[in-house]
């Protein structure tokens, strides 16, 4: 018999409970009249955030037979994930009603994905991480295809499912090889085995590591494993696209960083070269791909590939500043990217999602608030001060310079330069092109307004007063190094 430290489970438990409650509500009111499920979900997310914050700063523990960690690292990712989920729910109200009619299983699936992500961030065993990934992915497959009557939604879902299954295969095979060579799937024991040289055969372990990298690279959409991203991002309901780019990406990185740095850190000489290539390729291909996009969701899909590249730079550095920087960046990215998608949702109309960038002509003056917010998000995504995106990139590039990767940093900043062109292209369209046709009224629900405002203020706040969040990001590092 062992004592269960319930605190370890508490954040996940809150969300798991929430899933069950929403499930029951769904049975009673399947049409989600009055949006009860949405409100309930928001409430639950709020509670989970509160729980995560109240657990902050305790000495790191692990429990449940070594399956889960409770440390600042996991809690910080909980905050990113829950913030992403909360903002997505805010954005979704109104959007769902406009497009397909609201249904409560939508919220149920979002929450299930959220639970999966939190397990990924807290997982202390490759099996738990795998389960988390599956829980998240399966929910996402359905969400991407949530607009049943639209072919692009179905196409995206199918592509995502097939390629996701591939990725899962790689990941599992990798886990198997690591298990075969070290005799365990527990992250701490893998670390010990590697440190003490208790591995069956070194090549087999390295093969396992390589396959793990491939699996994770799929999940974070790193080049050359990014092919699914543009189609899936374009096909998915817009609110879900925003959701996918924030939480799931952050969670995949959470597990990726933890596995690579904490467990396999001693092998960094073997894998950092590979990640270096991956980072350079991901940034470059992502940004170059985005250059020619006319559809804003596709453009942001490539941009999200590129941003994965920036975070990979932090993983290459793999020092204290790098991990803190990567974690910090993912938080910043959640705010600015969901903000951008909130604007896209707001500018869409029933039956016409208005996704061509050229369709945004004149928006800046017709809807000054939305124009200003979108400019802010684009500037932040491009990494210009004084925004969250700039400070995050600054942290990551600092870490890379500190670790001696000057050329990777130069590749990174040159990529930023390329990205300015297409991000400002949106601003060009909004402010500098003559609008064609009638001005359309933009109707935003109060919730959507709150989401937009929160994302804007968050983007500005993180850029202007990063001290406290940076401090928190720094406190997560001890879990890994």
């Amino acid at each position: 018999m062992f004592e269960i430290d319930w605190n370890i489970l508490l954040p996940s438990l809150v969300v798991a409970g929430l899933v069950l409650v929403v499930l029951c509500v769904d049975i009673i009111r399947p049409d989600n009249k009055g949006g009860v499920s949405g409100y309930l979900s928001l409430l639950g997310v709020g509670v989970a955030i509160w729980v995560s914050l109240s657990l902050w700063g305790r000495s790191p523990t692990h429990g449940l037979g070594g399956m889960l960690f409770l440390d600042n690292y996991a809690l910080f990712f909980n905050l990113i994930i829950l913030a992403g989920t909360g903002l997505t729910i805010f954005v979704s109200t109104g959007f769902l009603e406009r497009e397909e009619g609201g249904r409560s299983e939508y919220y149920l699936l979002i929450l299930a994905a959220t639970l999966g992500m939190m397990l990924m961030a807290a997982g202390a065993d490759l099996i738990v991480i795998f389960l988390g990934i599956e829980l998240m992915s399966i929910a996402l497959y359905i969400l991407v295809g949530f607009f049943r009557r639209r072919t692009d939604s179905n196409e995206g879902s199918m592509k995502y499912l097939l390629l996701g299954a591939f990725a899962t295969g790689f990941l599992l095979y990798g886990i198997a090889l690591v298990y075969g060579s070290t005799g365990t799937t527990n992250l701490r024991e893998i670390e010990l085995a590697v440190a003490q040289g208790r591995v069956y055969t070194h090549p087999m372990l390295l093969g396992g590591v390589a396959l793990l990298i491939v699996g994770f690279a799929f999940k974070v959409s790193a080049v050359p494993f990014h092919m699914w991203a543009p189609d899936v991002y374009q096909g998915a309901p817009t609110a879900i696209t925003g959701f996918m780019s924030a939480g799931p990406k952050a969670a995949a990185f959470a597990a990726f960083f933890r596995v690579m740095v904490a467990s396999l850190g001693d092998l960094s000489g073997d894998w950092s070269g590979a990640i270096w290539m991956l980072a350079a390729l991901t940034m470059t291909v992502g940004n170059l791909g985005a250059l020619s996009q006319r559809n804003i969701k596709r453009m942001l899909a490539y941009s999200s590939v590129a941003h994965a590249g920036y975070v990979l730079v932090a993983l290459v550095a793999a020092n204290e500043r790098g991990i803190a920087g990567g974690v910090f960046y993912l938080l910043a990215y959640a705010f600015m990217n969901i903000g951008a998608f909130a604007v896209i949702v707001a500018l869409g109309r029933k039956g016409d999602e208005n996704l061509e960038i050229s369709g945004y002509a004149g928006v800046g003056f017709r809807h000054p608030g939305i124009g200003l917010a979108m400019t802010l998000f684009m500037v932040s995504l491009a990494g210009l001060p004084p925004t969250a995106g700039f400070f995050g990139k600054f942290q990551i590039f600092s870490a890379a310079v500190e670790a001696g990767y000057i050329w990777l940093t130069v590749i990174g900043v040159l990529n930023s330069l390329v990205s300015v062109y297409f991000y400002l292209g949106v601003v060009v369209s909004m402010y500098m092109r003559q609008p064609v046709g009638q001005a359309h009224a933009v109707s935003m629900t109060p919730f959507a307004r709150v989401a937009l405002l929160t994302a804007s203020l968050g983007t500005l706040y993180i850029g202007l007063a990063p001290t406290s969040l940076l401090q928190m990001a720094r406190q997560t590092v001890s879990a890994l190094l």
Partner: protein, 526 residues
């Protein structure tokens, strides 16, 4: 001397922008008057910086420093010295004039226009006052967005192309500078144990001789694009021609000076050894720029484009003066930064006035203006002469000092650069002749002469032209100590650096065997 004056000064325009955002919706008049009031208030606030400036010290004055991101050694630190004080004043002055000059020429989206103008002012003032590398970088890039909007929204036909080109050129340089800033931060931190972006602390540190070269190039590239130094100037004519009048005034008058200012503030004191290494190359490039800019200006058919290319030439003079690395050259360079702001600012204003009347800038469309609009023509004449560098007006003092410095540094380059003065007379006077003298065409016969508002816009600049031309001491007095200090600082460092490498050489010659053995031991230990 601790004071929050600079902070108020920097952020007053931003507060004004917010106010206009709230109050100016749908009310263009309110936006205009608010913007004018705020910019005049900012100017008034900057006057004490000039009058209360202590000209006996090279130390930073009116310093205001508060920690910003303490864990990273980032602070909000502002202050000015002799190098920046005049630039701050010319910025606040030209902002007032620019806003006043767009009173009737900008009728479209006035509120957003005025907001951009004021935000731009905040950004530029921040650049000139920052004493923290991180803060400097933030202002340096943040100021791009309002300028980008000014060109892109209120500009001419090819405005979008010009706006994007402007942003991409500037960013290409400044992103590499960011890498250099970060590198410098770690090098300084690793060597001294204090990780900081504080410029005053970094100034005291001698950067490792091996890394100076690349760091210098990264910083210099960024500034050289902004200046713009030949051959990085191609964005300038586009941006100038497409920008609205006020945008051109700010662009030529102040923004370009951010480049030369950056060279003075960062490149020279931080990387003195690399400065010595590249001085020759940079002087040659600036002389090429002087002659090239002048030659290209000569063949322009568009007045605004002509003035834009003349800027390339004039900025070449400024860089030449700075890298002559003697007191005359440096003083002349700093003064010429202000002079160019006044003369070229005035030229763009004059061109803007005539464009507003005729909606063309082609030289061939004009002629005989002296008979129709005598007051305008007189103003145009004085401005032209000031730009040429006629003795008695401002341009002469600056160019004379620069050439004095250049001749001491390198006779050949000095001679070639002087031809730029001659060429300036050619292209400016030829243009003036074609526009103002000659027969009056049909289209020009009914033009209105200067209005009261236009007099108000141009008069302060005319006064300054004469003032600096006749009694430049008011201004040079304030820059003297700082520029002398800067030169001394660079030269002592260069000397020390040279001494050190000499010592290294001797050491390596005498103890070569001993050193190799210690090194191999050290490597094994690693």
């Amino acid at each position: 001397m601790e004071s929050k004056l600079l902070t108020y000064l920097i952020f007053l325009p931003m507060v004004g922008a917010v106010l206009i955002g709230i109050a100016g919706k749908g009310r263009d008049g309110v936006s205009r008057w608010l913007a004018l009031t705020v910019s005049i208030g900012t100017f008034a606030m900057s006057v004490p910086l000039f009058t209360r400036f202590d000209e006996t010290t090279a130390a930073m004055q009116f310093v205001h420093q508060v920690p910003w991101v303490e864990t990273l050694g980032i602070s909000y630190a502002v202050g000015i010295d002799g190098i920046s004080v005049l630039l701050v004043l010319i910025t606040t002055l030209l902002s007032v004039l620019a806003i006043l000059s767009s009173w009737t020429s900008v009728t479209n989206r006035v509120r957003e226009y005025m907001i951009s103008m004021l935000l731009l002012e905040t950004g530029i003032l921040g650049v000139f006052c920052s004493l923290d590398l991180f803060l400097f970088y933030v202002f340096w890039e943040a100021m791009l967005i309002p300028m980008y909007l000014l060109i892109g929204v209120w500009g001419g036909e090819r405005r979008i192309y010009a706006a994007i080109k402007f942003v991409l050129f500037t960013l290409a340089g400044s992103l590499l500078m960011l890498v250099a800033i970060i590198y410098l931060y770690f090098e300084h931190g690793g060597a001294t144990g204090t990780y900081t972006f504080d410029l005053m602390v970094l100034h005291k540190y001698s950067v490792d001789a091996d890394s100076q070269s690349l760091l210098f190039l990264a910083f210099f590239l960024s500034f050289a694009i902004k200046v713009p130094l030949f051959p990085l100037h191609t964005w300038l004519p586009d941006a100038h021609v497409e920008a609205p009048t006020a945008g051109s005034v700010i662009l030529a008058g102040v923004l370009l000076k951010m480049g030369t200012y950056g060279i003075l503030r960062f490149c020279l004191p931080l990387f003195p050894l690399a400065t010595a290494q590249y001085t020759g190359m940079i002087m040659v490039l600036s002389v090429i720029g002087i002659v090239y800019g002048a030659l290209v200006a000569m063949v322009q058919t568009d007045v605004k484009k002509l003035v834009a290319y003349s800027s390339v030439s004039h900025l070449g003079f400024i860089v030449l003066g700075i890298f002559a690395m003697n007191e005359q050259g440096m003083q002349g360079g700093i003064l010429q930064m202000v002079n160019h702001g006044i003369s070229t600012g005035a030229l763009f204003l004059v061109v803007g006035m005539i464009y507003e009347r005729r909606h063309t800038r082609e030289i061939s469309d004009f002629g005989g203006l002296a008979k129709v609009v005598p007051a305008f023509s007189a103003v145009f004449l004085i401005t032209t002469l000031s730009s040429i560098g006629l003795p008695g007006l401002n341009g002469f003092v600056g160019e004379f000092l620069i050439l004095l410095g250049a001749f001491q540094a390198n006779l050949t380059l000095g001679v070639v650069a002087t031809s730029g003065v001659v060429l300036a007379a050619v292209y400016m006077l030829w243009m003036f002749q074609r526009v103002v003298w000659g027969d009056v065409g049909e289209a020009n016969s009914k033009l209105q002469d200067l209005s009261l508002r236009e007099w108000l816009v141009i008069a302060p600049l005319l006064v300054l032209m004469v003032w600096i031309g006749v009694y430049s001491d008011t201004f040079t007095r304030r820059t003297e100590v700082s520029s002398r200090h800067l030169i001394q600082m660079v030269q002592t460092r260069q000397m020390a650096g040279a001494g050190k490498s000499m010592a290294d050489l001797q050491l390596s010659e005498t103890t070569i065997a001993g050193r190799t053995s210690t090194r191999s031991v050290g490597e094994q230990g690693k």
